[in-house]
Structures are given as C-alpha cells and as structure tokens.
C-alpha cells in the first residue's frame, strides 16, 4: 500500500503554510469577500425553514445509522445497483481505486475522459494516475477548470478556486482557444461553456463522484449547478462513479432530509440548479455501461475511532469552511489536503492515518476551537470535540521524550508541591523584565517555542497567593 494522497506530499506544516498565506493580501481579500457573501446568504435560507434543527438531527441520525450498519447497507447497495445493470467494484485504497478506473477507461479504448467535480477522485489523485496511464482527464466544473488550467491546487470543497478573483481567472483563461474578452463572470462562464462543449459531445467515458447512494433502490445522486454534471452523466456511453463507502443512505426516503440540508448549507440556495439521480442503466437513455467503485481509503479505520468516526457523517457542504475564522485568513491550500478547513482538519488526518507525519499531525491544531463549525454543520459533527481528541492522539503518537511531554511532566512535578509552585511563580514574575507594552513576544528558549507563534501576557509582579497572605493571612 502506497502513501495516502489525501494530504499532499511535501506540504509544509500548517503553521508554516499559514504564515506564508497570511502575507498574501490578495488571497485574504478574495477569501474575505467570498466567505462573507456566502455566510449571509446561508443564514437567510436556513432561517426560512422552521424545522431546520429537526432536519439536522434527522441528518445526523441517518448518518449514524449508516455507520452502525455500514456492511449491510453496502451489500444492499451492491445488490440494487447490480440488479439494475450496473457493475460494482471495491477499492481498499487510492492505488487500487485508480487502477480499477484506469483499466475500465482503457477497456473503452479511449485516451480522454470528462469528469464531474468529485472530492473522492481528488482525494485519491485519480487525474494524476490516469495521466501516468496515458489518459487525459478533463475537469468540467468551472472552478476545477480554473484550478486545472492554472496548474494550481484546490482551496475549498465546493468552490476549489475561491482563492482566485475574476481578474486572475481571466488571465488563466487566456490559454483557451477562444479566450474571454473581459473579466465579467458571465463572459468567463461563456468561455468555459465554449471550451468544454466539444469535449462533452465527443467523450466516450465520464467519471463522477456521488453525493449519495441509496441502498434500497440503487440510486446514485449527483448534486450540481452548471449542467456539466448532467452532460457527463448523460452523453458518454460509459459512466464510472467513485463513491466513498460512507456515502450510502439506507432508504429512498432519506433523500427528503439531505436534499434540504445540502443545498442550503453549501451554495446557500433553496435548491441547487441541477440534481441527477439514476439507478444502474436505462436502455435508450444515458450511458449504457455503469460502474460504481466503492472506496475505503482510510474510511474503515476512521470508523474504528469512536470519537473520530462522526467525521464520516460529512456531506461535503463546506459550510464549516465559510464560517471558520482560521480558514478565512489562511485559505484552503495551507491545510495541504483536498479537504481543507475545519472538516479537513479532522478528516484528512484520520483518512491519512499517520499522526507521525509532521504535516498531518499539525492539522488538528489549525483551529481556535471557537465552535462556529459545529453550529452550522448540517449533520451536527462536533468538530471541536474531534479536534481535541485528535490533538491528544498526536501527543500520544509523539511519545514521552518530546520537549512538550517533558515540559508537561516538569509542570506536574511543580504543581505537585506548594513550595515548588510558589518558587516557580516568583521565577515567572522575573519575565516582566522581558516585556514590551504589556506582552511578551520573545522569551528565551524553551519559552521561545511558545512566543515564536504567539504573544504571552506579562506575569503580574505578585501572585494571588502571596497577595492573599500579605493582606488577609
């Protein structure tokens, strides 16, 4: 088994990446504008539904039911899809999924495929794997086109090019055969339409992800806006869908909950422009060959963690990104994964499954634990709870010999005895001489480990204990 590509190889740790991102004023401006807009819109469409909390609880509960019964639900889905003419494949990890898809594409004797935006295929690095196998994968979602043509990386779950503004997008589109004449979003969208039209009409194979897979009917659901999804799901002869195993829903009826939760949480609309639902193959309508690849890639090991498994409830709406004060300032690329923001900080490390990796281990710290993400989450993932749980695991993984662990055991020794504690307080007051303007911003080592990344308040001249003894004792 190779390295899990859910986090990008060679990415700096979050604090290093964040420091760099914070220096980019263009990026911060773009992000502030976009997240402020979407936050306001989301709030108003959510307020329209009196039963929003009931829907959230139902969504949470359905997903928990799926996780508790995942083996049975997957087997039911497999039966239903197969009965309706689809073929189901299983992939333990990214390499296996990529190999399955590449083989299926090559069977169709083509070297070009069109793609619907999909987090699962981005997670496994499918485009790169297909390129290595001589297949050109063309992204068709506008934001993915911006990322692909800009030779860039995604920075948001829903809007991967959120870090780019219209002027930058116009520059990137200059390489199209018919470049856009202005940076008006309408003109940019028109340029993408022209660029992709021929591709849609000639492609033999399409690849998609799935928002939901319904176990009792074998229905696969793709939620989108532009119609590129409909094009890919309708025109080519062969359709390959890569779906994370946790995306299964037990019953058709469950869609009545998620088709309300998802659009309002993600694009802040009452309903997204297009939702496509299909079951296997329909003679004379759409692809006549359908393959469903069920992907594990770290999901079953995430399931094994009692606290962490709630991350598998995620429906990839990205509401948590849009409200996160950390995300708004650093952008998504600082997280070094296709899953950025608060959900990324708990999902990417769990899927990667390697807390000894410095970058992965830095992700659970990419948060101030303010809890805004939990409040907006449509399936009530307690992200702060999982973050602190993962921080504990990171410390555990580091072992007992790290400076942090040694500092903690030293602290335990100091706190364990009154005299030692008071002596330490006195010593602490001496740091006053290093302060400027009421804060400490550069302590000598080992205090520098703290003040390198944040200021510390000045320690008072006298401790409360000593003041109490002097005045009341």
């Amino acid at each position: 088994m190779g390295r899990n590509p859910v986090t990008w190889l060679g990415s700096p740790t979050f604090p290093d990446a964040a420091r760099r991102a914070l220096g980019d004023t263009q990026l911060r401006g773009n992000l502030r504008k976009a997240t402020t807009t979407i936050r306001g819109k989301r709030e108003s469409v959510v307020a329209e539904l009196d039963d929003w909390e009931e829907l959230r609880r139902a969504g949470e509960s359905i997903k928990d039911e799926v996780l508790a019964d995942l083996d049975t639900q997957l087997e039911r889905l497999e039966v239903a899809v197969t009965e309706r003419g689809g073929v189901v494949h299983w992939a333990r990890d990214a390499d296996e999924a990529n190999r399955i898809v590449l083989d299926l594409v090559q069977e169709e004797d083509t070297d070009e495929v069109v793609k619907v935006k999909s987090m699962a295929t981005a997670e496994i690095g499918l485009n790169e794997a297909l390129a290595d196998g001589g297949v050109n994968a063309i992204e068709t979602d506008l934001a993915e086109v911006i990322v692909q043509l800009g030779d860039d990386r995604p920075s948001h779950i829903l809007v991967p090019a959120i870090h780019r503004n219209r002027a930058e997008i116009k520059e990137i589109f200059a390489q199209m055969p018919e470049p856009p004449a202005s940076d008006d979003p309408r003109v940019l969208a028109e340029a993408a339409r022209k660029y992709l039209r021929r591709k849609f009409l000639s492609a033999k194979v399409a690849i998609s992800g799935a928002n939901f897979g319904v176990a009792d009917t074998g229905s696969i659901v793709v939620v989108e806006s532009e119609g590129n999804g409909r094009m890919c799901l309708t025109l080519p002869e062969t359709l390959i869908t890569v779906m994370g195993v946790e995306k299964v829903l037990p019953r058709w009826q469950d869609l009545e909950v998620f088709l309300q939760l998802l659009p309002r949480s993600s694009t802040a609309e009452r309903m997204n422009p297009y939702t496509s639902i299909w079951s296997g193959v329909t003679p004379g309508d759409g692809p006549q060959k359908f393959h469903l690849v069920l992907l594990d890639n770290g999901r079953t090991s995430t399931l094994a963690d009692e606290v962490g498994r709630q991350a598998l409830r995620c429906i990839r709406c990205s509401a948590c990104l849009n409200v996160c004060p950390v995300y708004e300032r650093t952008g998504g690329q600082a997280y070094g994964s296709v899953y950025p923001g608060p959900i990324g900080a708990i999902l990417a490390p769990q899927l990667a499954g390697d807390l000894h990796d410095e970058q992965t281990a830095s992700l659970p710290y990419a948060s101030s634990l303010c809890g805004a993400c939990y409040e907006v989450c449509p399936v009530r993932i307690n992200i702060p709870e999982v973050l602190t749980h993962l921080r504990a695991e990171v410390v555990e993984a580091k072992g007992k010999r790290t400076p942090e662990a040694m500092a903690m055991s030293a602290a335990a020794w100091v706190f364990g005895d009154r005299k030692r504690y008071e002596a330490a307080q006195k010593a602490g007051s001496l740091t006053r001489f290093l302060a400027r303007g009421g804060t400490l911003s550069s302590l000598p080592w080992p205090g520098s480990k703290w003040t390198d990344t944040r200021d510390a308040p000045v320690v008072p001249k006298e401790s409360f204990r000593s003041w109490w003894r002097r005045n009341r004792g």
């Binding site: 995942l70 068709t140 339409r193 009545e256 309903m271």
Partner: protein, 200 residues
C-alpha cells in the same frame, strides 16, 4: 490476501458498532402554502427563470406565443397533440435525434413529472411528455409545461411521489455557477434560458 470486498466488509465488521436510536423524523413532511401555484411561480422567478401563467384552455395559444420566431424546437414524441401548435418547426425525438441534431435545434418543449413549490424545482422522470434526459439538456432554450395538479409544496412530498427506478433530473432555474467569487451567474452548460408555463 482476500478480495477487496471481503477485506473492506471485514474491517467494518471488526468495529464494535452499537445500534443507534431510531431516526427522529419530527421535521415537517408536508408544508402548507396558501397558494402553491403562486409560491412556485415566485420561487422559480427567484432563479431568474421566466414564469408564465395560462388557463387550461389557452395553453396551445400560450405555447405558440412563447415559441414564435424561435426556430426549430425538439419535442418528446409523446407530448399531447395540442401542444404541437402550427407555425413551429417541430423536431420530434422519434427516431432518436443525434447529439449533433440537438446541437442545431433552437430549443426544446417538455412537460414534467412534478414541481416543488417551496424550492422552485421542476422534476423530470423521463415519463410522459419528457423524453430522454439529453433532450432537455443540450438545447439552449427549455420551455417546460407544469400543470397545477403536479405541484407539491415540500421536498418530502416530492420524494414520496417520485419513482426512483428511472432517471430523475431536478431543475431549479437555468444552469448557473457560483464558482467566481461565490456569486451566482446564470448560464453555463445546461439550457441558459428556462421558461415555465404554469397551467391552471
């Protein structure tokens, strides 16, 4: 090493997973609207699609009005005869039109399976008067006829009525994107103009 299927299912079964409590479904299943037709019209218009109202008797006249001067219009073979008004160059999808034919047409006329008032959504299920999915996708103009008795208010009511055995398409306004600065722009790959005729 066993098959991937066995191994994944085995990994799941190795986890202790207590059965969760039953799903609370105390959200609203049916919602009330004083005038569902009006609500649908208002919500579809919010997406910048255009809505026209017609009495049952005047439907053919309204269709003719909408399609006047639009050129060649594709149509599912089973639309009611009275919809195919004279004066329009009709292209029935029988035998099935090729994709290049569809690129050439100027629009498409279809019915729908149902509509959801609260979200301004039209649902197609490849049933009567709707045709294959591609027919309402490739042409740049879509005129969709919705009867008053096809309108439900809430999403749960729609899901209950729909038959998932065929392909379904939920349409809420014309093709759009929020990919540039999270600002909604209408008109990308799907039909850039959506017009809805509400009948009754």
């Amino acid at each position: 090493m066993g098959s991937a299927r066995d191994e994944i299912l085995g990994r799941i079964r190795a986890v202790d997973r207590p059965a969760p409590p039953p799903v609370p479904r105390d959200y609203e299943r049916a919602r009330h609207a004083d005038d569902p037709v009006e609500l649908l019209a208002e919500r579809i218009s919010d997406y910048r699609a255009t809505v026209y109202r017609a009495a049952v008797r005047e439907l053919p006249y309204r269709i003719a009005e909408r399609l006047d001067g639009r050129g060649r219009i594709a149509v599912p073979p089973d639309v009611p005869g009275e919809w195919r008004v004279p004066g329009v160059a009709w292209l029935p999808d029988d035998p099935p039109l090729g994709v290049s034919d569809m690129e050439e047409v100027d629009g498409v006329l279809s019915g729908c399976a149902l509509a959801i008032a609260e979200t301004g959504t039209i649902v197609l299920d490849a049933g009567p008067a709707q045709g294959r999915r591609v027919l309402t996708l490739v042409p740049d103009y879509h005129l969709c006829v919705v009867r008053a008795d096809q309108i439900v208010v809430s999403v749960p009511e729609a899901i209950e009525r729909l038959d998932p055995s065929g392909p379904l398409t939920f349409i809420s306004g014309p093709s759009a994107t929020s990919d540039i600065e999270l600002d909604r722009v209408e008109g990308v790959h799907g039909p850039r103009t959506l017009e809805v005729l509400l009948v009754g």
